[in-house]
Amino acid sequence: MVTVLFYTLAAITLATTVLCLTRNNPVHAVLYLVQALFALALLYFMLGAPLLAAWQVILYAGAIMVLFLFVIMLFEPPVADKRTSGRLTHWFFPVMLGGLLLACGGALIAMDPAAKASLSSYWLTPRDYGRALFERYALAVEIISLILLFAAVGAFHLGRRYRSTTKEDVS
């Protein structure tokens, strides 16, 4: 059962990623990506990392993707395509993949409603996770925080409005 679930979820991840890459409509692409991230979260859960799965849903699917959508909406309000909106093919893939995802999630919950028995041979508790992150890989976390800081510095510099200078200087 677990094996079947694993391959189903893997197939969903691949399919949604490919669809995300090939869509012309950015909103559709982002929505497919959300599906891919959900599928990934379920995979994490099956592999014994519930905390990671939760973060995947909260951070990536929840926060970042919503941010993406907002940015897209801000810059380029989507125009509803009247010709295709009613067709079945238009709805088929999202509905099917979403349904499969829901089914998988339901199956996982049904198999272990209290999250007591471990589905995988290894079960990473949030405590273990924190240990790994802030003991073994503390340095890595620090470096990542630095990278983010300097990404912000760089973005600030590149995006900042400077006083207009003498433009003749510039080649």
């Binding site: 890989y137 630095l146 760089g154 510099h157 433009k167 200087d169 510039v170």
Partner: protein, 464 residues
């Protein structure tokens, strides 16, 4: 994290603290502050009672790591010194610039010192991120922004390849520790094919960072668009850090199936770089293709797979780095309000206008071409003989051929220098920092060419 570990990582900490604190330093003093921080890190790396070797996680604190950190810190200091002219005349936010350069040095140091795939990835990303911004730093220059984008997008692809490769290697070997992953792959891990696939992906990412053909196409555009000091740091430091990693901690040549791949990358880089450099009329683009060729030579050092070859490779890096930094530094020092003198035509008659800089540029190009008695010759000599010992005769023949042809494209700008041109000088005299950096690089090239013994011994002492 014990106190010993913190002490062992002190140079890195200095770079980190310096890169953050420089943001609060006034515009005029920021570059100098950056230089001081970089030099302080370099000195602390060798301060006797601070250089305790501790079993630090993720990054090593051994002699090799310290030596590399010193090199990158010196390069960073040189970059800051060479940028003074830009700060004065362009839209250059000096504090941000110095901070990014220091952070870049931090990333290179983490990369070359990394003992784990995690720190490898993070170091590479830190360095690359700083470069994305540094390349596009001159906001008045639209080609700079374009160049930044051209580094950014392929860089994302390379990062993705690297991350995927790391995941596969981890899946196959079950560890992030570099020495273990290599050893397990060599020993034939349970998922040998997966491990090899992972290494190939990592190799591709590294080939992008080191601009090996066919992953090199970004190089000329980026060098051309980036401010010259940044291009110098990119050409010497980023590639140097990648190769320092390959020479010290990831001996890819030990994994037998990867050797032909490396050999093909080396051969392609030499051939493509050489031919593409021939018709160039832009100094920075020519240097870009020349760096592709030189990185092809460096792969020879990786391929040797033994101590002597690695030492030769490090020596070559030093000689190449000094020449490259000085060449881009010269371009920076010759730039005026109308931009950098990138085209050969703009260099015409330089020998009459500023004889010292013309002589130095000649020397640098001759060293890159491998003329005795300069460092480039000695570097090629030790490198090629090490590769010959390792049995890569055809690659050495190819390398000799390419360095023969290279004389053509290196000497072309030199000839223009001494032609009496009518171009008016719009650059001022070299300032103190530029003189210091250029002079030091020139001295290093001469000394390493005439009397390489001490440098070779120092390298032999730190290469693990």
């Amino acid at each position: 994290m014990t106190g010993d570990m913190l002490l062992a990582l002190l140079p890195l900490l200095v770079l980190f603290i310096g890169s953050v604190s420089v943001l609060f330093v006034p515009e005029r003093q920021a570059l100098v502050y950056g230089v001081v921080c970089a030099l302080l890190a370099a000195v602390l790396a060798w301060w006797p009672w601070l250089s305790v070797a501790s079993d630090t996680p993720l990054v090593s604190s051994g002699f090799f790591a310290r030596g590399c950190l010193t090199l990158w810190a010196l390069l960073g200091a040189a970059t800051c010194l060479l940028s003074e002219r830009y700060r004065a005349s362009r839209q250059f936010a000096a504090p941000e610039f110095a901070a990014l350069v220091l952070f870049c040095v931090f990333g290179m140091s983490v990369l070359s010192a990394s003992t784990s795939l995690v720190s490898l990835f993070l170091g590479l990303e830190a360095m690359t991120l700083a470069f994305y911004v540094l390349i596009a730093f001159d906001r008045g220059n639209t080609t700079g922004a374009e160049a930044g984008l051209k580094y950014l997008l392929p860089g994302f692809l390379a990062s993705a390849l690297l991350a995927f490769g790391i995941a596969l290697v981890y899946a196959a070997t079950g560890t992030f520790v570099l020495s273990d992953t290599v050893a397990l792959t060599v020993a034939g891990a349970s998922m040998h094919t997966i491990a090899l696939l992972g290494w190939t992906l990592i190799l591709a990412a590294i080939a992008f960072k080191a601009s090996l053909a066919p992953f090199h196409l970004w190089t000329p555009d980026v060098y051309q668009g980036a401010p010259a000091p940044v291009a110098g740091l990119l050409a010497s430091g980023s590639k140097g850090a990648v190769f320092a990693l390959l020479l010290a901690s990831v001996p890819l040549a030990l994994i037998a199936p990867l050797r032909p791949l490396l050999a093909v990358l080396a051969a392609l880089s030499m051939i493509v770089g050489t031919f593409a450099a021939l018709p160039q009329t832009n100094l920075k683009r020519m240097l870009a293709y020349s760096s592709v060729v030189h990185m092809g030579y460096m792969v020879l050092a990786v391929l040797t797979g033994h101590q002597v070859g690695f030492e030769a490779g490090m020596f070559y890096l030093v000689s190449y780095g000094a020449a490259t930094v000085a060449a881009f530094g010269l371009v920076a020092s010759l730039s005026g309000p109308s931009g950098e003198p990138q085209n050969y035509a703009a260099l015409e008659g330089l020998a009459a206008r500023s004889p010292w800089r013309a002589a130095l540029l000649t020397m640098l190009l001759l060293s890159l071409a491998g003329f005795p008695p300069l460092a480039g010759f000695m570097g090629k000599f030790v490198l090629f003989s090490a590769a010959l010992d390792a049995g890569y005769v055809w690659l050495v023949v190819l390398a000799l051929f390419s360095s023969l042809v290279s004389c053509y494209y290196y000497l072309r700008p030199v000839m223009r220098l001494f032609r009496s041109g009518q171009t008016a000088a719009d650059h001022g005299p070299a300032n103190g920092g530029e003189r210091l950096v250029l002079g030091l690089c020139g001295i290093i090239l001469v000394i390493a060419g005439i009397y390489p013994g001490p440098i070779l011994r120092m390298i032999a002492a730190i290469v693990p």
